[in-house]
Every structure is written in C-alpha cells, then in structure tokens.
C-alpha cells in the first residue's frame, strides 16, 4: 500500500518520515485561516497531477470519511433518579433491552439489541437514531427494591434532553477494509453482508476504500488516543484501538466516543439487515495531518491499490476460514461487476460512498471555518496485534457422534412396492437413492412412498426427491439441526467429499442420543 516512488525519485526512509509540519503549526494556520485543507478525493487528484512532494509541501490536512453499518456501536446513558428512586436491574427503551450491569440509573444500549416486540424491524440502532432525532422514547425498568432504592417498577417517556449523559461509545468502528461477500450455494442467503443471490448471483462489499480514514494512515503515524474526529455529525475522539484491531493484516479498527447530544440523525441511522438483525450506520471523518511525505503518500492511496478478498458466505464457517473466491480491489468492486468463473457478477456496496464523500467535505468545512482543531494523540495506535479465533475446549457433538452407519440405500430402478416393504421391515422413514458408483442421487421418504402407492408410480426414480439436503460427518449437530428445521425435514444422509453415502441422521437420532448437549453414547 505504501508507495516507494516519490515524485519520480527514490527517497530514503529518513527523508520520507522527516517532519514537515507539527500539529501545533497546523492549528496556528487554521486559527489564521491559512491552512490548506483538502478531501482525500482531492488529495488523490493533486498527487496524480503534481506528485507527492509538492502535495506534501502544499497540503496541511487531508480529510477522510466513511459511512457504513458498524454493529459494535452503542450509547452509555444516565437517566437520573426518580422519586422514590430505583436501582434498575432490567431496562428497556422502546422495548429494546438496555444493559444494566452497571450502577442504578446508568445503562448501555447496544446497536444490535433487538426489540422484544418488533424483532428485526427495530433495535438499538433505531433507538439511537430516534434519540438523536429528539423523539420521545418509552423507558421501562424493573428492580427487586432495596432499602435505599425502594422502587421496583418505572414506566415513563424520555427524550435525549432529559438524559444527564448520552455518550456514544463504539468499541469497534471504522474497519480499514472488509472482505466482500458472494454465495456459491443454490439458495438466497440473508447475511450481515446483505442479500446474496444463489450461484454467485451478486457480490456485496463494505468500506469507503480510498476515503477510509485508516487507509489514509495505515502506518498509524498520526492516529491515536485523543485524536479528535467527526463522529455522527458531532465531535468525537479516538479512545484506542478497536476490538479485533488487526493492523498488520490491513484490518485496523478504532474505538471511539462522542457526545450523542451534539450529533445528527443524518449521520447515525438505525438499520435492519433482513433475517440477520439490526445495526447502526455511523458517519466518521478523520483529519489526517500531513506531517511528512510518507503520510502524504498514504493519504493519496487509491481504490485500485486497496486489496479486498471476495469470500464465499455459502459455507457457514468461521470468517477467516471462508473460501476466497477472488482477490480484487475497491476499484474493481465499485465498477459494478466482477468476473467470477467466466460470468460477470454484479457488485454493489453496503456502505454509502456518497455519504462518505459528504462526511469528508463537512469535516473540511469545519476546519476551514476554524470550528475544528486537530489534536496530537497522547499515544499512537498499536501496529501489531494478533486476532485469535475462539477455541472450543469442550467436546461438541458432531454428526459422527449420532449418525447411523448401517444405512440402507436403494437404486433408482427399484420397484416402489418392494422398497415400501423394506421400509416397513426395517422400521425406517428415509431411504437414500444411489447410482452404480454408490453416489447419492436422491432420497425417498415413507410419505413419498405412501403417495406413490396411492397413485400408479412404479419406479423409485419417478418419485424420489432429487435435490437432497446432506451433511458432512464433522459438522456440528447444532448447525445440522438448524438446517433440518429450515428445510422442514426429519432426516438427512451423511455424505463424504465425493458424495458417497456413509450414514444417516434423523431428528429422532438427535433427540434420543443427545441429552443436554452431550452425547450419551
């Protein structure tokens, strides 16, 4: 991402990182109205036309911006005390639960908390937007009552003005970049990356790319604890690295805070990802002080220089284990189509580039008007962090723990009557149908057979279901049970990598052999 050529000549690391101007000097220029502030888009054009050396000399600050769904967001609230007072143990705002593991009338409302009455259609993100909009919010709380806090129930309405504090505090915002998503399966997937059409039907991606704050200073030379930023239309601060901060892999994140009371519903938007959940769109803009040539060069990084992996969300595994379908750039994704397996696949963003541009322009305006000054961070953000997965240390039941291996199969040419007899004799309901190579080609249930016998069908091939839902033996029972419920079926063949039937699992097997999540066999 870091380019080594500077205006046609090579510079040593010392020359690249030699300080051109300090934050204090920049602030003095802002005070006098002499500072040169440009947006990241303008910086890219300037470096293209005049080279990085001249850009570094002329420009004091580059403003970046991003506007996307940031699930790890929320707001700390203080409601004040009622009379008689209550030590709230459970609390809801518009039926959305608020975390109450803190003091009596403090609470944290997370962006992804779901309404207990409206489910996916309303949640924490929407309450935050409604608070910022000045709307009335229903507050309900319960308690067990104590000598000092005797009240056990409270129901009232509040607005943001009634709150002592409403502090937006987001543990992970502003991802530097994000894996794009596609879907190899034959059904529509509804994910946190939006609607993914079957058979690589589309690609979705997120992030502002060349406008993204962390892409503009990937070496963390200017960003740190105490950096003043544009947050949700108000003033905020970086208060540290975000959770899952993984800077060495190019996946840096930020933890930020700011006073919700100053923010605007234009830059904080509650959202619903269909059949996934709710979130909050957050607008963040960060000023990048051009302190040296290296920062000038990274501040001019373009979409085509920022790599993105397109991953297959059709495999329900850990994000880092998802198969990479293709490596592309933000510029490829923004073009509207990417070729996958010889086919032009439509691609579109989930985060708003238009709003990201607007954020970078508003921040530029604030600085130009002398309403926003830069801060020197008290500590820069870490450049090394390992992002570990969660290891399952207890034994988890797998398909191989409950499946029956003495599976009976049939052939497509078998006679319906004979097969029906076999099912009755063996007392089973599901019969996988295999070809000569023993590969799975269909399935027949006792219900299919009953219907076939009532009609005049003779061969199994005429009545079998050809699109068979299958499982692998190392899959977790939890995932398999969800798949069976989703397709409304009571049994699935277990297959190996080459689609040979090696067993069968039924809902009966799962309920009989598993007690309290542990196998009894």
């Amino acid at each position: 991402m870091q380019r080594e050529v500077f205006g046609g000549k090579y510079l040593s690391k010392k020359e690249k990182t030699e300080t051109i101007r300090s934050i204090e000097e920049i602030n003095e220029k802002i005070r006098c109205g002499d500072a040169v502030i440009i947006t990241a888009e303008e910086m890219i054009k300037l470096v293209e036309s005049s080279g990085v050396e001249i850009a570094a000399k002329e420009v004091d600050v580059v403003t970046s911006g991003t506007f996307g769904a940031m699930c790890s967001s929320g707001v700390f609230l203080n409601f004040g005390h009622a009379d008689p007072p209550i030590k709230m143990t459970h609390c809801w705002l518009n039926d959305v639960p608020v975390y109450k593991g803190v003091a009596a009338v403090d609470g944290y409302l997370g962006a992804t908390a779901l309404s207990e009455t409206l489910g996916f259609e309303y949640g924490g993100g929407h309450v935050i937007e409604d608070l910022v909009s000045g709307k009335e919010i229903e507050l309900r709380a319960e308690s067990y009552g104590t000598d000092c806090y005797p009240r056990r129930h409270i129901e009232t309405v509040i607005t943001i003005d009634d709150l002592n504090q409403a502090m937006l505090l987001n543990p992970r915002n502003c991802y530097q970049r994000y894996d794009a998503a596609t879907n190899s399966t034959d059904r529509v997937l509804y994910t946190y990356m939006g609607t993914l059409l079957p058979n690589y039907g589309n690609i979705t991606f997120s992030g502002a790319g060349q406008l993204n704050p962390l892409c503009k200073d990937p070496n963390y030379e200017t960003l740190g604890i105490g950096t003043r930023i544009f947050l949700g239309g108000g003033i905020g601060y970086i208060i540290g690295e975000g959770t899952q901060h993984s800077p060495s892999g190019g996946f840096g994140t930020l933890m930020v805070k700011g006073d919700l009371k100053q923010m605007s519903n234009r830059y904080l938007r509650g959202s619903t990802f269909y059949r996934y959940g709710v979130s909050l769109y957050v607008g963040i803009g960060i000023p990048i002080p051009i302190i040296n040539q290296r920062v000038a060069s990274t501040a001019a990084v373009k979409d085509e220089e920022i790599a993105v992996s397109i991953k297959d969300y059709g495999v329900p595994s850990r994000p880092d284990l998802r198969l990479v379908v293709k490596e592309v750039s933000y510029s490829d994704l923004r073009s509207g189509k990417v070729e996958i397996k010889g086919k032009d696949v439509p691609s579109s963003s989930l985060s708003s580039y238009k709003m990201a541009v607007e954020v970078s322009e508003v921040l530029k305006k604030w600085i130009n008007e002398g309403r926003f000054f830069l801060t020197s961070p008290v500590e820069l953000l870490p450049r090394q962090r390992v992002f570990k997965p969660l290891e399952i240390k207890r034994k988890e039941p797998r398909v191989s723990d409950v499946m029956r291996t003495d599976v009976i199969t049939a052939n497509p040419d078998d006679d319906v009557k004979e097969v029906a007899k076999k099912l009755v004799e063996k007392g089973i309901d599901h019969l996988p149908v295999v070809d000569e190579a023993k590969k799975l080609i269909g399935i027949v249930t006792s219900w299919d057979l009953a219907r076939a016998l009532a009609g005049d069908k003779r061969r199994l091939a005429e009545i079998m279901t050809k699109r068979v839902i299958t499982v692998l033996q190392n899959e977790s029972i939890d995932v398999v049970a969800r798949r069976m419920a989703k397709h409304n079926i009571s049994g699935v063949p277990v297959v190996d990598e080459v689609n040979h039937v090696i067993g069968i699992v039924t809902t009966d097997d799962i309920s009989k052999k598993l007690v309290g999540g542990r196998t009894t066999i």
Partner: protein
Amino acid sequence: MIVRLIYSPKVVEKPILAEVILKTGVPVNILEAKVNAQKGELVVSIPAKGKTLEKILGFFKEAGVTAQKFTKILQIDYDKCTSCGACISPCPTKALRFEPDWTLGFDEEKCVACRTCVTACPVRAITVP
C-alpha cells in the same frame, strides 16, 4: 408495462390470461398471484407498447377483468435513502444503479416489482405501493 389484474368471482375460474396470450402471442409474465375460489388478483408484466398493449387491455376488459396500470412501481424515499447500494446488486433485472455522483438511480422500465430491494434496503427506504 406492469398491470394488476383483478378477477371478479364470476370470472375467476376462466383461463382468461392463457386465452389472451394465445390470442395475441405476447408472453405475459406473472409476477405475483393471489387466486382462490372467490377472487383473483395477479400482477403481470406485459412486454408490449401502444396499440398491442391497448388491445391486450381491451381483451381483459371484455372478459370482465379489471386492469390497473402500475404508474409507480417502487417508491424510493430519498429522505431515508443513504445511497448505500445494498439494493443494487441483488436486483435481478438491474433496475437499480448508481448515478455518476453515487446517488441511487432507478430505471422503472426494467423493474418487475419482485420486492428483493424492499427487504435488502437496510433503512426501509423502498416501498411497493
């Protein structure tokens, strides 16, 4: 042209749509269908213009079917829309797109009212009346 066809109880059992297709040779596509013994309501896309379209609508009228033209298929509330793009790539007919300034654009001609965008929109800015 997207049209809503309302069948009265008297005609609900007649194969009117099939007859119209056979008579005119126009491949009318059913986008949505709610039919029971009492009444029927279909939303269809008629790939025809001018006289042919008027002729088809005439056939429906003669057969006792009320045909309402969809003037606005999708409504995009631009006060809510952030132009994020979440509706664009899932659209099967490419009726939604970015304008050069990255604002969401909509091409009514291409829309088949499938509602994929309605659920894909994170801020519920798209509705089908």
